[in-house]
């Protein structure tokens, strides 16, 4: 038992690597916030563009959404960080992770918002247009307010899933929690820094898991 404590909860080792892990928490939070903001906005814009029903544009958006939903996030990050430089496009690990995860979230968000827009019956469009609203006004004042209410729960859950994917950025040497914890483990040859990292993730994500469940009950996929 003593052995177990010394191995996984070694206070001396934990104290030594705590500052790095806390620094990692800052990077994780920053990356997650950047990804959620960019991904949701991009997904929203794409869904609205898709509602213009311009054939070639729609085709491109659907292709984008399918590719970024089907390919694992880690593969996308590795292509951006390790493959793009071979054709002269170089980005830091943080920017690569931010870009890659944002695109993944945008693909899922686009599909969710689009489903929300489709759920508003056609008659609403026609009625709104008949009262003299323009296409933009109709979208902004009539369709989106109804569509977005339906998308709150699935969008929240998607956003939570993507924030957990920030751990993948450790593969690109981004100094977030997991990377710092791994580095501490490698230097000390003791898994206590990993325990520390795990605790940091629990503190960050357990509230998000609860938030997701609450939102799911509050704004269910039904009217």
């Amino acid at each position: 038992m003593n052995n177990l404590v010394d191995t996984f909860f070694n206070l001396a080792v934990m104290r030594q690597y705590l500052p790095q892990v806390i620094q990692g928490v800052g990077v994780t939070v920053l990356l997650a916030a950047a990804v959620v903001a960019t991904g949701l906005v991009l997904g929203f814009v794409l869904a609205v563009l898709r509602s213009l029903r311009i054939k070639p544009l729609t085709l491109l958006i659907v292709l984008f959404a399918d590719v970024f939903r089907a390919v694992p996030a880690l593969v996308i990050l590795i292509i951006i960080y390790f493959a793009l430089p071979t054709v002269g496009i170089r980005m830091s690990g943080f920017v690569s992770a931010w870009l890659g995860l944002s695109l993944v979230l945008a693909a899922f968000a686009e599909e969710i918002v689009w489903a929300g827009i489709l759920s508003v019956p056609r008659g609403q469009w026609e009625a709104a247009r008949a009262t003299g609203l323009g296409v933009g006004q109709c979208m902004r004042l009539v369709v989106l307010p109804q569509a977005l209410r339906l998308t709150v729960a699935p969008l929240t859950n998607r956003a939570i899933v993507i924030t957990k994917n920030t751990a993948l950025a450790s593969v690109l040497a981004v100094g977030e929690i997991l990377y710092q914890a791994q580095a501490g483990y490698a230097f000390s040859y003791n898994p206590s820094p990993l325990t520390l990292g795990a605790i940091a993730y629990l503190i960050l994500f357990i509230p998000l898991v609860w938030l997701g469940r609450w939102v799911e009950g509050r704004f269910a996929w039904k009217r």
């Binding site: 399918d66 390790f82 489709l118 994917n165 751990a167 997991l178 990993l194 898991v209």
Partner: protein, 223 residues
Amino acid sequence: MEALISGFFNLQILAEAAPYLLRGLGMTLLLCAVAIPLGVVGGMALALMSTVNSRLVRWSAIVYTDFFRAFPPLVLLLFIAYGLPFLGFKPPPFVAVAIAFLLNTSSYYGEILRAGIESVSAGQHEAARATGLSRWQSLRWVVLPQAIRNVGPDLVSNTLEAVKLTAIASVVALPELLYVARQVQSVTYNATPVIAAGIIYLLLLWPLVRLLSRYERQAVQIH
């Protein structure tokens, strides 16, 4: 353009990489074939635990689910792969990955199936019991078929995530599709293998992604 083709879509390198990629794909499929059924069975067990009368059993299922849903899967995997050897048990990569996936995916499937069971009104169960079905028969023939149908889209979505998740096994050097592709990339100094791996994932998961879109649309079409 020339550089892009020779760097990303180099047929010569693809031909050299193909046998390795196919072997990697085999490993990915094997991993799915082991991890997904384990996750579904574990999830079903968790969901059933949440229906019993004992508060202790119900709460332990909830604590388990929330705990493992809060962990990014990569953190869990590294913790198991690096931590277990300190307990005197050095699992082969496949076993470490299988354990991590079981813990992670079962918690997600468990949460989904629990929500499904809760979505079936209590009256159904009571009526089934009143017709003389046992508790188990009522669950098996009345509640579960409806529960599973109600959460079909979430099950599809989670299975998609579970398949994509297998890519993180590359981090602990399990020779699945992504790992093999990166190995070949580092030998040939060419990104084609990784791009090819991305395309293989896309072809593999495209049907699931399309199905998911259809489900999402249906979910909001019912007024």
